[in-house]
Every structure is written in structure tokens, then in C-alpha cells.
Symmetry: C2
Subunit: 321 residues, 2 copies
């Protein structure tokens, strides 16, 4: 039994960015998530692949000691395929081709062992399916991702699913769209009413934020000069977050969520530097620790206890303080 169970897609991606083109490389939400999480804890992946999945693709999981016993190969099937292109500013992926292939019939049944994994990540799949997985699991902490497609086509299913997880991890556009509210703080409050304990917002180059009913946390992103391919940033963020949460394994210490978000941000900062998981496959402990120490430094400020604030004038003198 692994500490973290990832359920989602394992895919073959063909990606074009302003800086290059990579044909048929390893992708998918469960892939990026698992690789990132594997730096912090042991991970199992539940997903489906076809006959075209190569030994080289498999070696990425093996290298990271990710348990693939629930990675099901469908004989005669083809792996989920996605082709996309990013423009000049790398902000939006334009999908050129999607072939669901074996992923179209993905209906995960968790093994005895998988049910007992204490940390569960539901990658971006149909919300009803995410909920079925959640119901099979005895996890103590469940996080999920989703996307605009499900917000538009299955909002009621999605909201039901959000109600049975601990953490919803989405980007700010998705949060606004989900409750049709442009103000993110108001949107977050409404989303928390659906039931999750926390809402973690991914803001791309602007960082991340976390809302609970009692607290707010926000961090800028790691400053990157060379964003090469944004594919997988969100999933590797979730992977770093859940991997750290599982290692710390203490949900009572609220600081762990903040630390998890910093580790998630670091893993996302690596994955976007190269195609696929190439960069994550080469990082080591000191790479991670260096960015951690940078994070601490570039967000740090201390207060000037001696500062004076001048409030005066006809109106302000009538108020306290």
C-alpha cells in the first residue's frame, strides 16, 4: 500500500511551443502528479494505457519507483492521445487533437490495497467517476482537480463531487467560472459552501492561494526565466502538494498545507522548464532545496516596529486608532 494513490490519465502528448516541438512524449494528469509526488513519498497510479505505451514511457514510472500494478494495459487498445500548441505568451493551450482511445472506457475499480492509501488524488476525469473512486477509498485526505469542460457540461455532478473531497485544486479562471463570480475571494467562499475543507487556487505565473473557512494563504510563484512547456504544471503542483502532505501526515498542523503549497509550486517550476517530465527526471535533492530556500528569501519581509502612521484631519480624528 502506497501513501498516495493517483487516479487519472496516463497519456501520450504531442506538444508544440514557441521553443520547440515534441512528438509522442509521456503525459497525462496521473503521470505528472505521480512523478512530482514521488519525491516526497511512495505513490501508486491507477490509470489505463494501450499497446502503444512503450518501455521508455514505462521507465519514467520505474525510475521514480512509482507502483504501476494498477496501471492497466488494454490489449489491442491505444493510449489516450493529446496534441496541443501554446502561443507566444504560453498562457493558453490550443488543443489540436484529442483521441480518448482506451481512456474512453476508463472505470477505475480500486484494489484492496489501493483503497487503503491514506492520500488520494482524483485527477481531471468525469466528476461522477471521480466520486465513484472517492466512495471506494478509505483515504483520510482526498484532493481533486477538474477543468472548464466539466464545469460547462456536468456542473451538478461536479458540485456533488466537490462536496465529498477535502481539497479542490483548480485555477482561478475555473474558480470564477464554477460559481459565475469574478471576485476570487467571493468565489472561494461560495465554493467552500459546496463542502471541501480547502480550496487551493493555482494562478500560474502569479503563484497559488489557499482558502479555508477560517484562513487565507497566498504565495507568489517561483520566478522563471525559461518557461518552455506549461503542460503538467497544475498536476505536478498537486503532486508536490499531496506528496508533502502524505510525508508530513499530520492534518492537524495547518502549516503543513502551506508547506505543501510551496513544494507544489517548486515541482511545477521544474516541470515547465522542459518537455514532458524531462526536467523532473533529472532534478536532485539540492535542486529542490535551493528553490525552497529561494522561496523563503524572495517572499520574506519583516515589519518596521518604529513606523508611524499619521491619521489626522476633520474626519479621521473622530475615529479610533
Amino acid at each position: 500500500m502506497s501513501s498516495v494513490l493517483a487516479v487519472g490519465s496516463v497519456a501520450i502528448d504531442s506538444v508544440k511551443t514557441p521553443f520547440g516541438f515534441r512528438e509522442r512524449s509521456l503525459g497525462g494528469s496521473a503521470t505528472h502528479f505521480s512523478v512530482a509526488a514521488s519525491f516526497f513519498t511512495d505513490v501508486s497510479v491507477v490509470a489505463v494505457i494501450g499497446d502503444d505505451f512503450t518501455a521508455e514511457d514505462e521507465s519514467v514510472f520505474r525510475e521514480r519507483e512509482i507502483d504501476t500494478s494498477d496501471l492497466k494495459r488494454v490489449p489491442g487498445g491505444k493510449t489516450f492521445f493529446w496534441a496541443g500548441e501554446y502561443g507566444f505568451d504560453l498562457n493558453t493551450a490550443h488543443t489540436l487533437d484529442t483521441q480518448l482511445n482506451v481512456f474512453a472506457d476508463f472505470k477505475p475499480i480500486l484494489s484492496e490495497s489501493a483503497r487503503e492509501a491514506p492520500y488520494l488524488f482524483l485527477g481531471n476525469i468525469q466528476p461522477a467517476l471521480q466520486r465513484e473512486v472517492r466512495e471506494q477509498s478509505n483515504a483520510r485526505f482526498v484532493a481533486m482537480d477538474t477543468m472548464n469542460y466539466w464545469i460547462e457540461t456536468a456542473p451538478e455532478e461536479l458540485i456533488k463531487t466537490i462536496g465529498v473531497v477535502d481539497a479542490l485544486i483548480i485555477n482561478d479562471a475555473e474558480a470564477r467560472q464554477l460559481v459565475d463570480e469574478p471576485n476570487l475571494i467571493k468565489a472561494a467562499k461560495q465554493i467552500l459552501e459546496f463542502g471541501p475543507k480547502m480550496l487551493i487556487i493555482k494562478r500560474g505565473e502569479y503563484g497559488a492561494a489557499c482558502f479555508t473557512k477560517e484562513s487565507f494563504f497566498a504565495t507568489p510563484a517561483y520566478p522563471l526565466e525559461s518557461v518552455f512547456d506549461p503542460t503538467g504544471a497544475g498536476d505536478s503542483f498537486a503532486g508536490g502538494f499531496m506528496g508533502y502532505m502524505a510525508q508530513a501526515n499530520n492534518l492537524d498542523d495547518t502549516m503543513n498545507v502551506r508547506r505543501g503549497i510551496i513544494y507544489g509550486s517548486i515541482m511545477a517550476s521544474f516541470i515547465v522548464e522542459e518537455f514532458s517530465c524531462d526536467r523532473l527526471r533529472r532534478i536532485n535533492r539540492s535542486d529542490i532545496n535551493n528553490r525552497l530556500s529561494d522561496f523563503k528569501d524572495f517572499t520574506h519581509f519583516d515589519l518596521d516596529e518604529s513606523v508611524t502612521v499619521k491619521t489626522f484631519g476633520a474626519i479621521s480624528t473622530t475615529s479610533q486608532g
Copy 2:
């Protein structure tokens, strides 16, 4: 002689937002800047107004004890007038009307006393004019703002002006546009080559960042549920920043820049809560201190010294760390 000298526009604004409409209220870069800075230090304003400038408009400066002896009234003239409208998401102001009026001939000549103000803010005016003001001043620290209009119509003048100030304070879209580089970190490096000691980037709801050749700092914004009117956010940010810098008056302590950015963010968080300077006119010391303490709290994280990072596998074991 005041500590901070603000040169820019004093205007009459008519602003429409999804939440209301305010006709002919006090606006302008020098106004919002001065009011925000006045909480931290003494401020003088150099600007031009017309006969239509009312006693009520003037009272805002008087309340905040802002020195208006260089606020020049042009007999028979009309004050700079701007009318704008914000859409649903409050992100972009659509200009409905601009009447430069007396501002069209604004050519500031600094008084003996104004030249000696140690902190100078050049609000968004024609870059050549900003440079003429800068040349008249003996300030020890000069900051400037600009806008997309000058980037498009007077880029060479603008770059020359940027070269003779200490701090350029612009938003991220402007930074990208200025050097035609979508990656903000790369853009910042190129802008620093123009000569300023620091580049401060305003990111609206995402916060602010500061680049020098040696350092990087970033902070999220104060989380606001009720953004009512974004007009003046950038100038009040600059005002809080410069006001604190002048009060601290120690350019050798680099932490002061970070503290200044936090105070700037706080002043911006207040001004957007109501039309014009209405909110800033009513805040007191404890309002500011409460947000300061919130800032410290919602950005805080500490590291987990016991965390382990697992690097293994065929590739990563060959690397150090």
C-alpha cells in the same frame, strides 16, 4: 520643504463601475499618490487645476495636510477631466472621455523648496516632461510611473527617462510591452539595463514584485471581497511605497523597499473599496495596522526541517545531492 514631492495630474473623474456611478469626483495620479503617501510623511503636490476645482476637492488635500502651494490654479481654465467605465471583472478601464484642459500645457517648474524634497514621484505624464522635472530636482530617490500610451508613442523618450530614475513602478502588461518580451523575468532584466536601480511591478489582484540586479521580491495582494472602483490603485500603491521610503529614509537597508511595497499594497487595497479617495479619507491607524498584520499572517510559512526528498533511479543517482 516636504519629504515627498509628487508631480502629476490632479483631475476630475466620472467613473462607472458595475456597482455604481460617481460624477465629477476628485482623481488624478498626483491626488491618489499624495493622499496615500500622507499617512507616512509630509507631502507636496505639483499639479495644475482650473476654476472648476471646488472647495470640497481642495478639502481632501487639506484634511491630509498635503502642501498645495505648488498646486497651480489657471484662471479661466478647466481641470483635467476623465470619464471611464469598468466592466464586470473590473480589469480594464474603458475611457469614455478625456479632456486635457489646463493639463495640456502643464510644464512644471519646481520652486526652490520643491527641488530639495528628498523623495520625488513622477506621476504618469509625458516622459520628456518627467525628465525635465527630474533634472530640476535634487532628490535622493526618484520613482516614476508611465502607461501604455507613452510606450507606444514615445518609447525613446521614455527609455531615456527610465534611465535617470531610481525606481520604475509599472504594471506587468506595461513591462512586457516596453521590451516586447512575454516572460516577465526576462523583461525585468532588460528594463533594468535601461538604468533604474529597481523595477517594481504592480500585478493588481495578484500583488506586486520588485526586481533589482541582485534581488527579487514578490508578494500577493491583500485579498479583497469588495473591489468597488480600481481607479487610483496604482498611484496609491506608489504613494504608500514612497511615503514609507521617505519615513524610513534609509536607502541602504534593502528591507525598506519590501516594507514599502507592503505599505503600498495596503494603501491600494483601501482605495479600491470606494469611489475616489473616499475610503482613504476615513481610514485610521488601526485599519492600516490590521491589514499589515493580516499581510504578515497570510504570506507566512516556515520550513519543515525534517522533510526528506527522495531522489533515486537510473538518472538522478548519477547527479549530486
